[in-house]
């Protein structure tokens, strides 16, 4: 190709991606920069009434956050959600994907739709249903546990059970989307490899470990990055189910940011939380990428 042609092609590329780039600039980069600036101000209800009451306070918002016990509580809760929730959801969606991908399963499209359905239903509606399922006295979950002789658990009322309760709900709600991604990846695993391994006498687990997982490595990474980001940004579920309670056991970092920003209208402090959250997600994702590179997944 001539140099001329290459320039033309580059120009066409820029032209075609410019609407998307403009949208990213306008709706992502600019607001992100604005909120970074906001995090160095003391924007509060006084500034809301009159912008003349706004002051630049440097790193004071960040400094106060580090002294705020509720911030650390929210941080711990979020890290717990990430640490427990990510493996749980990845495992759940991978097993669901393997189920609907397996050749012996009948009515596969029906299964796929059924398992994908939770993802596309309204969060608030499902939360109402789950509040019933998790009810201490009338809930299905406690009924099932009672069959095994487990005493009733106050899922949404006890500070120890509320986190698992939210996790179960979040897992059920989001695994469908990851399942579709995994399914697409599983269908690219060459059947010859699988059959060759079977002839070599590899069992189900050995084939999963040495054939399937290496083949879907990049997808596994993608899904875990998405899930980590999603877990860091957990908000709607605790907001609808528990309002951060009981005893602040389900206050996530985003919920804390919402309360700082929109309950107390300390937008400066809220923006500082948002920026710290951004750094956290960035750091975890970079670590994941590095690990993946080392293991050769990408």
């Amino acid at each position: 190709m001539s140099a001329m042609g290459r320039t033309n092609e580059a120009r066409a590329g820029w032209a075609m991606s410019s609407p998307a780039l403009a949208a990213i600039l306008l709706f992502f980069v600019l607001p992100a920069l604005a909120s970074l600036v906001l995090s160095f101000t003391d924007f509060d209800i006084y500034a809301l009434a009159d912008i003349g009451n706004l002051r630049f306070v440097g790193f004071q918002n960040y400094e106060r956050l580090t002294q705020n016990p509720l911030f650390w509580k929210a941080m711990t809760n979020t890290l717990l959600f990430v640490a427990v929730g990510t493996p749980f959801i990845v495992a759940l969606s991978l097993s669901a994907a393997m189920l609907v991908n397996s050749r012996w399963l009948k009515w596969r499209p029906v299964w796929r739709v059924a398992l994908f359905a939770p993802y596309v239903t309204t969060l608030v509606a499902t939360a109402v249903v789950w509040r019933y399922l998790l009810h201490t006295r009338y809930g299905l979950l406690n009924y099932l546990l009672s069959v095994f002789g487990v005493p009733p658990i106050d899922w949404l009322g006890s500070p120890n059970a509320s986190l698992p309760a939210i996790l179960i709900f979040v897992g059920w709600k989001t695994f469908g989307y990851n399942m579709i991604i995994f399914l697409a990846a599983l269908q690219t695993v060459p059947r010859e490899l699988d059959e060759a391994a079977r002839i070599d006498g590899a069992g189900w687990f050995a084939r999963l470990r040495h054939v399937v997982l290496p083949a879907i490595g990049p997808t596994l990474l993608l899904v875990s990055v998405l899930t980590v980001a999603g877990m860091f940004q957990l908000f709607a579920e605790p907001y609808v189910m528990t309002q951060g309670g009981p005893a602040q056991s389900t206050v996530t970092i985003l919920y804390f940011m919402y309360e700082e920003g929109f309950k107390w209208w300390n937008l400066g402090s809220g923006a500082a939380v948002a920026f710290l959250l951004f750094l956290c997600i960035l750091a975890v994702t970079l670590v994941q990428l590095r690990l993946a590179k080392r293991s050769g997944a990408i």
Partner: protein
């Protein structure tokens, strides 16, 4: 981030919403919108049928808000310029809304609506020499106690002075038996300590609300009394989340006294076992020497600022019609709320209801809390320190000093505003 097909489809699907954006601009100029919460919002449409709203006046529409989201909604409404004409507002939010200029002071022609009301309640709404809302219904917190256990200890009612009150509680605890306590003061709630502080006459803030006054002797006395209740084993060191069911525990005698508001009367009637219905009663709070104080609560009707004259005239007309004795009585019948006007108490025969009558006494003895927008954050911090004091981390003096330090930090912006002459 890149635009995926999913997002494009979403954008297409959202396109019809664009037309709604246009509708945001002209917010119901032809009508009068009222924001109300909870039970009041549910019964308001019926109330409005009986207020003789003139034929030519703008039509009224009621928008209910849940209590849990009401505060955010009001501030977001102010930020977005979409507040309605009239609103029900919790009395403790008035200072904040007045400070940001979201509400109008009560005009001269409506000031008569504040007569025939409880002094402490109207005082709560008075900031910088002006009243900012008309109290609609009132409440306050006083003691609910087990009449039977107090009777067995030799008391018809809890004594009104702190010293005698504590002696009685020790006797009640003995009668309730091992493993039980005399009263429940949950460590995560600040109302108990603020009630004690108001009873001992503490002002809590000084310098026009610019600094904490928690090291005043009055507040320290309340703090010491609060601590002694736990140190002497009269109350369990627990937070509300650790009490699985307040009614069951109250019925069992785990505690015989708690501080709560008029909404608990209904709960007592519906949740306490039938055989215990004669065994509970209410009484005004104790004070250092005689009946103590309490913080007045309830909701006010406010008219939001920044509207045309004709609109705000109609809004005040609506407020005064809702405050008419007939409408007040109808509100009480529909919701059980305690009326703001004293004359309606008589008309409703509330003095003869033994569970409700002490509320009148308490409201006559109530004191307004400091009126600064930061107040809720300050008391939240106060309680965190008080809880640690009860658990032994701070002495009384250290706790008072720590609360002052935290309050001063929260009030830093207010002091700056006061210096500039910009704070109310």
């Amino acid at each position: 981030m890149q635009l995926t097909r999913r997002q494009m489809t979403g954008a297409l699907a959202a396109a019809p919403l664009l037309s709604m954006l246009g509708a945001c601009g002209g917010r119901g100029d032809s009508g009068l919108t009222v924001w109300a919460m909870g039970n009041e919002a549910a019964s308001l449409p019926d109330l409005l049928k009986d207020i003789d709203w003139p034929k030519g006046a703008p039509p009224i529409s009621v928008q209910p808000l849940p209590w849990t989201a009401a505060h955010e909604k009001l501030l977001t409404g102010f930020a977005g310029g979409s507040l309605p004409s009239v609103g029900q507002v919790g009395n403790s939010w008035i200072a904040e809304l007045a400070a940001i200029g979201a509400i109008m002071p009560v005009p001269a022609h409506a000031i008569a609506l504040l007569r025939d009301q409880f002094g402490a309640v109207t005082d709560t709404n008075r900031i910088a020499g002006r009243s900012w809302g008309v109290p609609w219904y009132v409440d306050t917190r006083l003691q609910f106690y087990r009449k039977d256990l107090f009777a067995r200890a030799g008391y018809a009612a809890p004594p009104a002075d702190w010293a005698g009150w504590k002696v009685a509680l020790h006797k009640v605890k003995k009668i309730a038996g091992d493993g039980n306590f005399a009263l429940l003061y949950p460590l995560n709630e600040y109302e108990q300590l603020t009630t004690l502080a108001l009873s001992s006459g503490a002002r809590m803030l000084r310098d026009e609300g610019g600094r904490g006054a928690f090291s005043d002797p009055e507040f320290k006395a309340a703090l010491a009394f609060y601590k002694s209740i736990f140190d002497e084993g009269l109350a369990p060191r627990v937070s509300m989340a650790q009490i699985a069911n307040v009614w069951t525990e109250f019925g069992r005698g785990y505690f015989s006294l708690l501080l709560s508001g008029p909404w608990t009367i209904g709960d007592m009637k519906s949740r306490l076992a039938p055989e215990l219905q004669a065994a509970w009663a209410t009484a005004p709070n104790p004070g250092p020497d005689g009946i103590g104080s309490a913080a007045p609560g309830g909701s006010s009707l406010v008219v939001f600022a920044g509207r045309a004259h004709s609109d705000s005239d109609a809004a005040w007309d609506l407020v005064s019609r809702l405050m008419a004795p007939g409408a007040q009585l109808a509100l009480h019948r529909a919701t059980g709320d305690l009326p703001a006007r004293r004359s309606v108490w008589d008309a409703a025969g509330l003095a003869s209801d033994p569970a409700v009558a002490p509320f009148r006494t308490q409201l006559e003895h109530a004191t307004a809390l400091p009126k600064v927008p930061e107040w809720e954050r300050i008391v939240t911090e106060m309680q965190i320190v008080a809880e640690r004091m009860v658990l032994g981390q701070y002495s009384i003096d250290e706790a008072a000093k720590e609360i002052d330090a935290r309050a001063d930090r929260l009030l830093e912006k207010r002091r700056w505003m006061l210096d500039k002459g910009r704070a109310l």
